[in-house]
Amino acid sequence: MADKILKKLNIKVWRQKNAADKGRFETYTIENISTGSSFLEMLDILNNQLIIDGKDPIAFDHDCREGICGTCSLYINGRAHGPDTEVTTCQLHMRKFKDGETITIEPWRAKAFPVIKDLVVDRTAFDKILQAGGFISVNTGGVPDANAIPIAYDDAEESMDAAACIGCGACVAACKNSSAMLFVSAKVSHLAKLPQGKVEAKDRARNMIAKMDELGFGGCTNTGACEVECPKSISISNIARLNREYLKARFSE
């Protein structure tokens, strides 16, 4: 069965020349978009049209286009990664939109994620948080026997669930406080649940939170919006663990 065609769409999109530019919204009209095409394909078609018209194409981040890399962003119609759950923008399809609709596209908005151009934001803040403690630096020796370190099934599962974070930044974009707590909690949790990660747990929690605060992310008020908008459904129970890890570290000083 052929996919339905959306005859006409209005695309209201944020245009900003560079980091110093103030930026503004511009609205474009696009015709005959298949509901089977992905959201980014729609933007590709729009960009083609802009190039033909002699205009500057819209800059947006994308890479793998299969929901793994965490490169694509976009705040679409008031939601991070658009009107679908457990998907990244590249996995969002045009069947989620209605004919004649005005689609508003904005970049992630946060002090720690400055806009570079149009819809592209600088997410190196996440890398800086990881560099502050999201790793294991103690020597763990050569490759051990598969069962040399026993790990409970539930711990392994929780660790893997937290490790599913792709660092896209939707949690920050969706949070009313632009807080990075879900991201940091996922990175702290996937190590905190495993014996190798426990060795440096205190320093990790302390340093990553200090870096998060320094970079200008907001604080967590437990609204839970991040979990809903997270393409990997990282649970906010990780945030409770991060709070626990951090308080433990501070009170043992």
Binding site: R109, T223, S237, R244
Partner: protein, 226 residues
Amino acid sequence: MSKFLTASIGRKFIMSISGLFLVVFIAVHLTVNLFLIFDDSGELFNLAANFMATNPAVKIMEPLLGLGFLVHILWSFFIEYENWRARPVKYDKKNTGISSSWASRNMLILGALVLVFLVVHIIHFFWVIKFNPEAMSTVVVGGEHMEDTYKLVADLFKSSVAYDIFYIFGGILLGIHLSHGFWSGFHTLGLSNKNWMSRLQIVGRIYAIVVAVGFSVIPLYFLIKF
């Protein structure tokens, strides 16, 4: 220590400790207040009020409670300001209703409205009892002279429908504030995990309903009965 108090989690730690302390206070306050509707002669409530006014433990807790309120209120504005600064350019279109509850996003507004209620409430009762007891009549309960606190409350609620509605509204606002605040406090202290999160949310909601209904039912009782 100062580093801890200004760190994002440290700030929230202060909020949740003071908030959960106020949660305990509200439970005590509601328990005493409910005597208002179980004895129309007012003896039971007067006895309870007199006990609260003269008990040494309560005397110690009173300034602590004031401090708890002060910290919770002042810190909330500080936190909200810091969080507001984290997003200098706001979104043009937001669709936040799908991903979070209204109460969780508007704790400051709810808190500020509760604060307005609190100020009026203190002027009505606490201020009179504490600093202007001459304005109150006295009553003898069980051979002991005491201030007629029951009359103070009952007179206010009987005097105008507006006061009753104001107090009903205050109770409901507090309930909505607690529907998010209760479990959020535990979550911030790290006293939660994937199992306990939903349990705390359920307990929090029940507590919020008990508080909202409990406080609203008192003016409602006077409104209907008298």
